[in-house]
């Protein structure tokens, strides 16, 4: 499978007209890349990915997916274009079983649901064991697996993750990023927002640092890891993250 290329140009987006949160941002994710968006709280990271996924109003600019503009399209049309989004919070159907969560993930994938379920259970063997459990009763790490598994059901070409490591123990954070990398290795393009800058950059190709809804730094992941400005932002100390 070949991932999609995402090209966002001059995006202005937000919840209330006249109050933009993302203010003229451009960003590119090449096919098969992992790109991380960093930045302090309130920088507009979450709003950016929600706008790309069709959950937040786009006031200006474009969101090109392999050359076609999807700016302002409803979220479910983006799903049919191969874009999967994992929200940060409330990212499982709590009252539905693990398997039903995955089935809803594959809602548009009529016919070959069984095949996709097997693929997800191969990637997350724990989920196969828990398939009849209500997702709301699972632990944080298991729930995150359900959330990512649900998104992967459509065999996406672009996977967008909003803080996949939020609220997880350090051990689980490592596991989540390892899985993210495994997903990329199957050809999926990945765009993620993370607070856990170091762990995210270690598996990323490139990264963007946002401030007040605009791009502040854009560089290769390696360079960002050693960038003193990024270090200061996250550690409050001079020197890079590594």
């Amino acid at each position: 499978m070949i991932g999609a290329t995402l090209q966002v140009s001059n995006l202005v987006a937000g919840y209330t007209p006249g109050v933009p949160i993302v203010r003229g941002l451009s960003l590119t994710v090449a096919a098969g890349e992992i790109v991380t968006v960093l930045g302090p709280n309130g920088a507009g990271k979450s709003t950016l990915v929600k706008a790309i996924a069709g959950l937040v109003s786009v006031f200006e600019g474009s969101v090109f997916l392999d050359g076609a503009d999807f700016a302002g399209h409803k979220a479910h049309t983006l799903v049919s274009a191969g874009v999967a989004f994992v929200p940060q919070n409330e990212n499982v159907f709590r009252r539905m079983s693990v398997q039903e969560n995955l089935e809803i993930g594959g809602y548009l994938y009529r016919g070959r649901i069984k095949e996709r379920l097997e693929a997800i259970y191969d990637l997350f063997p724990d989920l196969a064991r828990l398939r009849h459990h209500p997702a709301g009763k699972l632990s944080g790490g298991q729930r995150q697996m359900v959330a990512v598994g649900r998104a992967l059901m459509i065999a996406p070409r672009l996977l967008i993750l909003d803080e996949p490591s939020a609220g997880l123990s350090p051990k689980l954070v490592g596991m989540v990023f390892q899985r993210v990398r495994a997903v990329r290795d199957t050809g999926v393009t990945i765009l993620m927002v993370e607070q856990n800058a170091k762990a995210a950059l270690l598996i990323s190709d490139r990264g963007y640092v946002l401030a007040e809804g605009q791009e502040r730094i854009c560089d290769a992941a390696d360079a960002l890891l050693h960038n003193p400005e990024v270090g200061e932002l996250y550690l409050g100390a001079k020197g890079g993250l590594v």
Binding site: G54, H76, V79, V92, R94, E100, E103, R150
Partner: protein, 299 residues
């Protein structure tokens, strides 16, 4: 005596259960308390009455001991369809423009207004006096020692249970049913999973409207058809939905039967004039003691 009151309660409970399912479903998916839902029961009953009247020329006779035959069953199906359409029209004209405003109270108040309009429209068309599906008088038969019921009443209870089972299978086995549960659970996540939320909302009205129509016809068969029947049932319907745990379909069924039985059993100790107060008292107690209801999930 108690057994008879229990049986009466189960018969009333069948109507309440079907009505409460629609109420809880629309509450869950659309996130507001729809006071116009009772009027859908009335409209369901009146539309079926109109169709049954239109079919009355046919030579069909009643099923065995039942007071009605195919005409009323066909009328029920047509009425369920039209009641669904009516629910969608009300949604389109009244609720959809207000949903964008995101003020929940506006929706609730608007539903109250819609309810009054729907009720008075019935009086304009059919007049205020009670109607009956049949002029036959059915004899109650002993079905258990000390319990008497008419064949129509037994039919209503059985068909209500069948509808509940069908609804259960629909919600757990079909793609559309699962999508409905997904939207009730987490609408944003359903949207990013590819579910076209607007389409599924229409189907929610179809399910809620059809069950309301069935509940209305059942009430018309076992009691009578009146313009204010739905309005009078509104309080017990809310009590049933809240008792079961608002949003829980199985809770609504359970709540419907509990409220029905409690209302009718109360006659053993208090004057029948106070019967409607029983649902109200149960609702207040549930809200005070266990606001999430019997089967509801604590938020």
């Amino acid at each position: 005596m108690l057994a008879q009151l229990l049986a009466n309660g189960i018969i009333l409970g069948a109507t309440l259960a079907l009505g409460a399912i629609g109420l809880t479903l629309t509450y869950n998916v659309l996130n507001f308390a729809n006071f116009a839902h009772g009027s859908l029961l009335s409209w369901g009953a009146y539309l079926a009455f109109a169709f049954a009247l239109a079919f009355a020329g046919s030579t069909a006779t009643g099923f065995g001991p039942l007071s009605f035959g195919w005409p009323l069953l066909f009328a029920l199906i047509l009425s369920a369809t039209l009641t669904s359409v009516l629910a969608i029209v009300v949604d389109f004209l009244v609720f959809r423009p207000l949903r964008r405003s995101n003020v929940q109270v506006a929706l609730v108040i608007a539903s109250f207004g819609a309810s009054l309009m729907l009720r008075n429209l019935i009086i304009v068309i059919w007049g205020p006096e009670p109607k009956y599906y049949t002029s036959d008088i059915q004899i109650q038969q002993a079905i258990l020692p000390g319990v008497r019921a008419t064949p129509d009443q037994m039919f209503v209870v059985v068909l209500a249970l069948v509808l509940v089972v069908v609804l259960h299978l629909f919600l757990t086995r079909t793609r559309l049913g699962k999508a409905m549960r997904a939207i009730a659970d987490n609408p944003v996540l359903a949207e990013v999973s590819g579910v076209n939320v607007r389409n599924v909302i229409y189907w929610t009205w179809v399910v809620g409207g059809s069950l309301a129509a069935a509940g209305g016809v059942f009430y018309g068969l076992t009691v009578q058809i009146l313009p204010e029947m739905g309005f009078n049932l509104l309080l017990p319907l809310f009590a049933a939905a809240i008792l079961g745990g608002i949003g829980s379909i199985y809770g609504a069924v359970l709540g419907g039967f509990v409220i029905g039985i409690a209302s009718d059993l109360s006659v053993a100790v208090i004057s029948p004039g106070y019967k409607p107060a029983v649902a109200f008292i149960i609702m207040i107690l549930v809200l005070l003691l266990r606001p999430s209801g019997i089967l509801g999930e604590k938020k």
